[in-house]
C-alpha cells in the first residue's frame, strides 16, 4: 500500500515538476507546482507525518501558491517566449547537475547499510497520533531553532514591507 502510494505520487510529483518547466504560461506552471505540493503532502501522509502533510496543504498549496496565482493574475502575465538560454547555463548547468547526481547516488549507495537501519525521526515515539509529540519537541528541545526560524521569517516580512512602501 505504502509502496503503491509512493510510486503513484512520486511519479505525479516528478511529472508536475517537469510540466512546470515545459509550460510556457505562468498560470499553468504555477498549477503544476500545486500538483507537486499536493503529491508531496500525500507522500508525507503515507510516511505517518500527518501534521506535516496538513501543514503542507494548508500553507503551501492553500496560501503560498494562491498568492503566486493571485500575483500572476494581477499582473496579467502573458505567455513566455522560448529562448535558447544563456550559454553559461549550458556550460555550468549540465556538468553541475551530473556532479550532484553522482555525489548523491555515491552517498546513498555507500551508506546503504547504515541508512536502512537508522531510525529517522528517532525523537518521536511511534504512536498513531504524533501531533502532541511533534509540538512537545518543537517547544522544548528544538525551541531555539524554532524561534530563530520565526525571527528569520519576521525579518523577511519587515524587508517586504520596507521594499513595498512608497518613497515619501
Amino acid at each position: 500500500m505504502q509502496l503503491a502510494l509512493f510510486i503513484i505520487f512520486g511519479a505525479l510529483a516528478l511529472g508536475g515538476a517537469l510540466n512546470l518547466l515545459y509550460q510556457r504560461h505562468p498560470i499553468h506552471s504555477a498549477l503544476s507546482l500545486v500538483v507537486v505540493m499536493m503529491s508531496l503532502a500525500v507522500l508525507y501522509w503515507s510516511l505517518g507525518a500527518e501534521f506535516l502533510a496538513a501543514a503542507q496543504v494548508i500553507v503551501y498549496s492553500g496560501a503560498i501558491m494562491v498568492l503566486f496565482i493571485f500575483v500572476i493574475m494581477l499582473l496579467n502575465a502573458g505567455e513566455e517566449h522560448r529562448t535558447n538560454g544563456s550559454r553559461a547555463a549550458y556550460a555550468v548547468g549540465i556538468p553541475g547537475a551530473a556532479a550532484i547526481f553522482c555525489l548523491l547516488s555515491f552517498v546513498f549507495l555507500s551508506e546503504r547499510s547504515a541508512l536502512m537501519t537508522s531510525n529517522i525521526g528517532g525523537d518521536l515515539s511511534n504512536a498513531a497520533d504524533n501531533i502532541a509529540d511533534v509540538s512537545a519537541m518543537l517547544f522544548t528541545r528544538q525551541l531555539l531553532p524554532f524561534e530563530v526560524t520565526s525571527i528569520l521569517i519576521l525579518v523577511a516580512i519587515l524587508g517586504a514591507v520596507v521594499l513595498a512602501r512608497k518613497e515619501q
Binding site: A54, V57, A63, V66, F70, M73, D129, I131, A132
Partner: protein, 352 residues
Amino acid sequence: MSHLTNIEVFLLLSVLKVAVVLVITLMAVAYTVLLERKLLGRIQNRWGPSRVGPFGLLQPLVDGAKLFLKEDMMPLAVERPLYILAPILALGCALVSIAVVPFGAVTRVHGVDLFQIANVNIGLLVILGITSIGVYGITLSGWSSNNKYSLLGSLRSTAQVISYELALGLSLVGVVLRAQSLNLRVIVDSQSAHGMLSWNFFGGLQFVGFFIYLMAAYAETNRAPFDLPEAETELVAGYNTEYSSMKFAMFFMSEYANMITVSCLATLLFFGGASSPFGHLIPAFGGAVVQAILPVFWFVAKVFGFLFLYIWVRATLPRFRYDQLMGFGWKFLLPLAMANIIATSFILAMRG
C-alpha cells in the same frame, strides 16, 4: 451478513454511508436555497416561491431541472481546460469536507461507525486544508473566463479568503487548546460532560473565538455582508458571469455546501456537536434506535439554526466596502484572535 468477511462488511457499509451522506447533503443544499428564498421573502414582506407544490416545496426540483436542461454555453475566448475544471474543483472541495464531520453519537454496527464517514486524527486540519484548496475554484474561474468582471471578482475573492483564513484558523486554536486534540470526535467529547454548560461557547468561555469564527466564516464562504466577489451592483455577477447551465449550478451548489460545512464546524467546535443541550437531565427514553437518532436530531437542529442566522444576516446587513473589509479582517479580527489565544492558554495554564 454472516457469510461476508469483515473487510467486505466494512467496504459495503462505507460505500453505503458515503452515498447516503452525499444524497442528504445535496438535498440539504437544494432545500437551503428554498429556505433562503422563503425567509428572504418573509423578511422583505413578500411570499417567496409559493407556486410549485404545497408552500413551494417542490421549487428546488424544478430549479434543478431548469438548470440541467438549459443550453450549456461555452464562450469562445475562455481558457478551456481550466474553465471546465474550476466549477468541478469548487463543488468537489465543498462536498469532500463533510466526510470528516461526526454528525451523531458513536454508533457501531459490525465495527463501523454509522454517523461519521472518516474519523481522522487531524480532522480539523483536513477541513481547513480542503477549504483552502477550494479557493482555486473561484480563482481559476475568474481568470479562465477572460472577462474583466470575472477577473475582478476572483481577485477580490482570493484576497478576501487569504486574509480571513488567518483569523479563522487562529479563532479555532482556543478550542483545540481546550480539547488537546485536532480530532473532531475528541473535540465534541470534550464538551459533552454537563450538557449546555460544558459547550465551548458557554462553559468554555470561547464566545470571543466563536464570534471571530462566525465573521471569518461568512467571509470565507463569500456570503453577505462579505459578498464582494459577486457584488452584482459593481461586477455583474463576479466570478461566475461567464458560466451558464450546470456549470453555474455547480458554483451555486458549492456556495451552499460550504455554508453547510461551516455551520457543521461551528456546531462541532463551539456548540457540542451532536450532544444534547440538557446533558443527562432527561432520562434516556425509547429503544436503542431512538437513542441513536436523537443526537443526529440535535446536530441537525443546531446546523439549521446557523443556516437561519446566515440568511437572517444576509437580509439585514448591507455589503462592506473593500477597504473596510480588509481593515476589519487584518486590524480587528486578527489581533482579537491572537488575544483570545493568549487569554485561553493563560487560563488553562493557571488551572492545570
